[in-house]
């Protein structure tokens, strides 16, 4: 009797662990941390559902540049800034609730398009170094944003609300109160499960965005992006306008990041004018990587797994720190250093895998030559 042929990819356990080291690490951290935190299941469920609604849109906006082979778009902070500018104007005009959010999104769109175009064009001049370049563009644009918000708003750009303007007469205050907009989308369709509030409307919006991404992959532009992501030269020879496709991917990502930031801030209810956007790219990228994504491969599943695991760690870390050492601040530090650590680990693993694949390809080539 002959053995049936097993038509399965031959992956060793070691390889499986290495390929999924980040999610596995986070599952372990959460498994140890949850009992130590002492939080109830309903509390954790409530937190995770809230954070899932709050962050999904932002993290999903990272998928398109990955598809186009541009890596993780640290330049999504540009979109976040555009979203915040929209929210500042809307607050000044006292437009509240869902209409306020829609108006902020409309205002943010042209700003995001301009910033995305600028970022994409620069990234085309820095092929192969997109991530670090977009990271630095984020810092550069932060300075421009500060100039815009701190000096031009109230002086050159009319802002009438005394609640927004600094007492000196120009510049926006440290915090903008979004109480009139707070959870207006999350609570649009009230629904509770096991004592946890479910942001149904936000999750519906996220689901629609997921469907748009799935549909987009099948469009001509989506196929072009995937082709560009696989091999730029081959795509160019196939008649695809590589540079234009790459710029478009960054524009789309920036615009969606702007919308994501508006959704994020309506959940928080307060806008830290000079800080809210600065770390959003870092945490969104960390969440995506925790979900098992890599620099060249990310999908919707990675987004949701990542947000759940990463934010579960975020929720429990301060309490675990306090319960273990009597210092909640330690947990705060822990979650910050883990965020940076995850990105570093993912980048190192990506490079290792790439080099290994290159070495194997080289060895195979040598064998064929012999």
């Amino acid at each position: 009797m002959t053995k049936p042929e097993i038509n399965m990819k031959n992956i060793s356990v070691k390889e499986l662990i290495i390929n999924n080291i980040v999610p596995i690490l986070f599952i372990c951290i959460c498994a140890v941390g949850i009992p130590l935190s002492g939080y109830s299941g309903s509390y954790l469920l409530n937190e995770i559902l809230s954070r899932l609604g709050r962050n999904s849109f932002l993290v999903l906006s990272l998928l398109i540049p990955v598809m186009a082979g541009m890596g993780l778009n640290f330049g999504m902070t540009l979109g976040a800034m555009a979203g915040q500018i929209g929210l500042i104007f809307v607050s000044d005009w006292s437009v509240v609730g869902i209409p306020g959010m829609v108006l902020a999104a409309i205002i943010s769109t042209p700003i995001s398009i301009i910033l995305g175009y600028m970022c994409g064009t620069i990234l085309n001049h820095a092929k192969g170094r997109e991530m670090v370049t977009s990271y630095i563009i984020g810092f550069f644009m932060n300075g421009v944003y500060q100039l815009f918000v701190l000096y031009l708003m109230g002086s050159l750009i009319p802002i009438s609300s005394s609640e927004l303007i600094l007492p000196r007469g120009y510049g926006i205050r440290n915090t903008v109160n979004l109480e009139s907009m707070r959870k207006s989308l999350d609570n649009l369709i009230p629904f509770n499960i096991f004592g946890a509030s479910v942001p149904v409307a936000t999750l519906i919006l996220v689901a629609i965005f997921c469907l748009i991404i799935i549909w987009f992959r099948r469009t001509k532009l989506g196929q072009d992006m995937r082709a560009v992501g696989q091999d730029m030269e081959v795509a160019r020879q196939a008649g695809i306008k590589v540079e234009r496709t790459r710029v478009l991917s960054i524009i789309l990502s920036t615009v969606f990041a702007g919308y994501g930031m508006i959704i994020y801030l309506q959940n928080i209810g307060t806008l830290n004018t000079y800080n809210s956007h600065s770390q959003i790219g870092m945490f969104s990228i960390a969440a995506l990587l925790v979900g098992g994504a890599s620099v060249d491969k990310a999908n919707i599943r990675n987004v949701f797994i990542g947000i759940i695991l990463f934010h579960l760690m975020f929720t429990i870390a301060p309490t675990v720190g306090r319960n273990l050492i009597g210092e909640a601040q330690l947990g705060e530090y822990f979650r910050v250093f883990v965020s940076y650590g995850v990105i570093t680990l993912a980048l190192v693993l990506y490079e290792m895998r790439k080099r290994r694949a290159e070495r194997i390809a080289l060895e195979k080539g040598e064998e064929v030559a012999v």
Binding site: G100, I107, N272, Y274, S276, Q279
Partner: protein, 155 residues
């Protein structure tokens, strides 16, 4: 020909978005309505009445009371209920108001409205300037936090 069609579609899309923005501005604009039961000139304050704005729960209002309702949009429905002194019966009236777009705060004088319900809206619904005095500013008030790590705790 194809380019022109494409251009028109794009311009149409931009126009639709602009119109949507304008509609959102009108629909989402927040206003404050102050329901006022102070005596005003010849019009004496009511002893007691109940008020509801846009179908909210009725709020009991006595003499010399002023209540604030924060509303969204320009058109609103006000419902009043009061007890007729002569017959002891409960009477009710419901009417619509339209707040000018540029007005943040409007004062609705119920005694003036009750004196003549057919009077134009401008007689009993007037602009109100908030009396809140701006807090004195110190140099610290003008400082902003530009620390990148300041937002960590909000995540």
């Amino acid at each position: 020909m194809k380019v022109t069609r494409k251009l028109f579609i794009r311009l149409g899309a931009v126009l639709v978005i602009i119109i949507l923005g304008v509609v959102m501005f009108f629909v989402g604009k927040q206003h404050t309505i102050l329901i006022d039961n102070f005596s005003s000139g010849d019009y004496r304050a009511l002893d007691e009445f109940w008020v509801s704005v846009d179908g909210s729960d009725y709020l009991d209002m006595s003499r010399m009371m002023r209540e604030q309702f924060v509303v969204m949009g320009q058109k609103h429905n006000i419902s009043l209920q009061w007890e007729d002194e002569a017959s002891g019966q409960m009477l009710a009236v419901s009417f619509n108001i339209s707040i000018p777009l540029n007005e943040d705060m409007m004062l609705l004088s119920v005694p003036t409205f009750m004196a003549d319900m057919n009077a134009p809206q401008s007689t009993w619904l007037t602009h109100f300037e908030s009396q809140a005095t701006p807090s004195s500013s110190s140099p610290e008030d003008n400082t902003v936090v530009l620390d990148d790590t300041a937002s960590f705790s909000s995540f």
